[in-house]
């Protein structure tokens, strides 16, 4: 029965199509011809759409944001109750995923504090302990590997970082002909990265630390491109983090686990330093090359360094006003040339 109707309609369609001048008074029915005409296109289109969407089947479970997360407000716009709810949600997610009950808090900048970092290039030996201590402290992804600190091996006599090398692979450090230049986020006073963010997911806090709201970041990587110090890292892959390596002391803006597709970077360990502690990279340093403190406190180590040592910043000419300073010790050459003083120091920068 149905078939017969179709056939008759199809016949009609044929007669219609074969008479082009006819003002087809019959309704444009669902004929076999029209079906055959449109169906392959429609199926093909749907297939193309399926093909385009097919990467979604590889989406790991839980990588889509929950409704709660999706509806979460910007960090600065949250009321204390909303912040508590957000922290509780994050805590729950970490527990579900890693089986560890974390303590996630929102650490606010301290009054009257301007954090400054100083690094003694005369002392640094390039052992990379700071790099890996940072990874452990800040719950960075182990594979794909995300590290906030990069240590450049530099030939003596230049501060041109284009001459540096990340991949030095010596049996022991330091090498006799090189010095070592660790680079991490310089927490600029005039940060280019925050200016290019289209969604205000990153900004400079009152104590000078440039922070990121990982829930607000859309992963456009403009900030990564804007940073002259290569300080920002992007989570291309789903971060993998061993359950037994989780650091449960977390901060909203610092070391809580990050999702795929957001940018992260050094934040001067703000979950530690805003409680008065030292950053993890400083504590691990076996030669005491790293110094951290409050620049507004005239007694602090960094104030003394800024006052009395010969300091420089990287890429001063780009006008970012970093709060990460490199300094040297004076040289006291000895006759025998074997003393640790004369051994560990780079040639003075000629600038």
């Amino acid at each position: 029965m149905t078939l017969r109707i179709w056939e008759s309609q199809a016949g009609e369609a044929v007669s219609n199509s074969s008479s082009r001048s006819c003002n087809c008074q019959s309704r444009p029915g669902f004929t076999r011809r029209s079906f055959l005409r449109t169906a392959p296109g429609a199926v093909g289109g749907m297939a193309a759409m399926v093909a385009a969407l097919s990467p979604l089947k590889d989406l790991p479970e839980g990588s889509l944001p929950s409704v709660e997360e999706f509806m979460q407000k910007h960090y600065k716009e949250m009321s204390p109750e909303e912040m508590d709810a957000a922290l509780a949600r994050m805590s729950r997610e970490v527990e579900d995923r890693y089986g560890v009950v974390p303590s996630i808090k929102d650490y606010k900048p301290l009054e009257g504090v301007q954090f400054v970092y100083a690094l003694n290039l005369s002392r640094c030996i390039g052992c990379r302990k700071c790099v890996h201590a940072c990874v452990e402290e800040n719950n960075q992804s182990r594979s794909p590997e995300i590290q906030y600190i990069r240590v450049l091996e530099m030939p003596r006599g230049t501060t041109d970082i284009e001459e540096g090398n990340h991949h030095y692979d010596r049996p022991t450090v330091p090498g006799d002909t090189h010095y070592y230049l660790p680079i991490q986020c310089h927490q600029c006073a005039n940060p280019p990265c925050t200016k290019v963010c289209p969604v205000e997911a990153t900004w400079k806090d009152d104590d000078g630390i440039v922070v990121i709201d990982y829930d607000w970041c859309i992963g456009c990587r403009y900030c990564e491109a804007a940073c002259p110090y290569w300080a920002r890292r992007f989570n291309f892959g789903e971060p993998s983090l061993p359950k037994d390596k989780i650091n449960p002391d977390m901060g909203y803006l610092s070391n809580r686990p990050r999702p795929r597709g957001v940018v992260e970077k050094c934040h001067f360990c703000l979950h530690r330093t805003r409680q008065g502690k030292m950053p993890a990279c400083l504590e691990i340093c076996p030669v005491g090359a790293r110094k951290f403190g409050n620049a507004l406190d005239p007694e602090s180590e960094v104030s003394q360094i800024l006052k009395t040592k010969r300091i420089f910043v990287l890429k001063e000419e780009v006008g970012t006003l970093p709060r990460f300073f490199y300094y040297f010790d004076e040289r006291y050459p000895r006759d025998d040339g074997n003393s640790p003083e004369s051994h560990a120091e780079p040639v003075e920068a000629s600038e």
Binding site: E162, N165, F236, I284, G293, N294, D336
Partner: protein, 238 residues
């Protein structure tokens, strides 16, 4: 019937061309879609992970201790002080080559190569100052400052050495390590370190090419030759 009915030789033109195209493209799309859904490789990015290293390398090491005054050697439940022996056995010479005790001490302190530059010859429970007076074992920085003046000045201000606990200058947890907690007084230079693994940036695992080797700059990849050995500049003077 209409008068302008087409002649049979014109009939094929009446079948719309789009239908013809769709007949071929439709199945092609279907095949491609099936290939994507079923066979296409997942978009997993090859990633490199950090090589394993001993977790003890990441423990914070304080190399020495601040000694009691006088230093106490504990053997079982016995306690010995330096003078317990040295009152009996007087040291005749101060040359280190002539030591027949304390052979574990590796002496490598530059031109300061005499025991009694720092230790008092008569009273071994004390250290000796340049003015001849005693210096307690708890005042090691005072002893060292006699020769290392600028370093001592830097240490006092926190520019040399290491401060732990807190960056707040008024925080009671703040503690600055003393000289002998980092440096072995008999051999103060730090030993060379084995560096921890270098970076394996995402998608930069083992993808060495001659092309990358040509590229200069810190973001350039290391070049590994066929046998896997590094030929980049960093290892040149190993």
């Amino acid at each position: 019937m209409n008068t302008d009915t087409p002649t049979p030789d014109q009939t094929p033109k009446l079948i719309p061309k789009t239908t013809n195209i769709a007949w071929f493209t439709g199945p092609a799309f279907l095949i491609i879609a099936a290939w994507f859904v079923l066979l296409a490789p997942s978009p997993a990015i090859p990633v490199a992970s950090t090589p394993e290293f001993s977790p003890t390398l990441l423990e914070m090491t304080i190399r020495g201790t601040v000694k009691e005054d006088p230093p106490i050697l504990r053997v079982g439940s016995y306690e010995y002080r330096c003078n317990d022996c040295h009152d009996i056995f007087k040291s005749g010479t101060e040359k280190t080559e002539n030591l027949y005790q304390h052979l574990d001490i590796k002496f490598n302190h530059g031109i300061n190569n005499r025991c009694f530059n720092c230790h008092d010859q008569e009273n071994r429970n004390k250290l000796v100052g340049r003015n001849g007076g005693y210096i307690s074992y708890t005042e090691i920085p005072t002893l060292c400052s006699q020769c290392h003046g600028p370093t001592f000045r830097d240490w006092e201000r926190g520019m040399h050495g290491k401060t732990l606990g807190s960056w707040e200058t008024d925080n009671p947890n703040q503690r600055r390590l003393e000289c002998s907690e980092c440096h072995n007084p008999h051999s103060p230079a730090f030993p060379d370190y084995e560096p921890l693994p270098g970076p394996n940036t995402l998608r930069m695992g083992d993808q060495p090419t001659e092309l990358h080797h040509e590229r200069k700059g810190p973001l350039a990849l290391p070049f590994r030759s066929e046998n896997g050995s590094h030929t980049d500049e960093g290892g040149a003077d190993q």
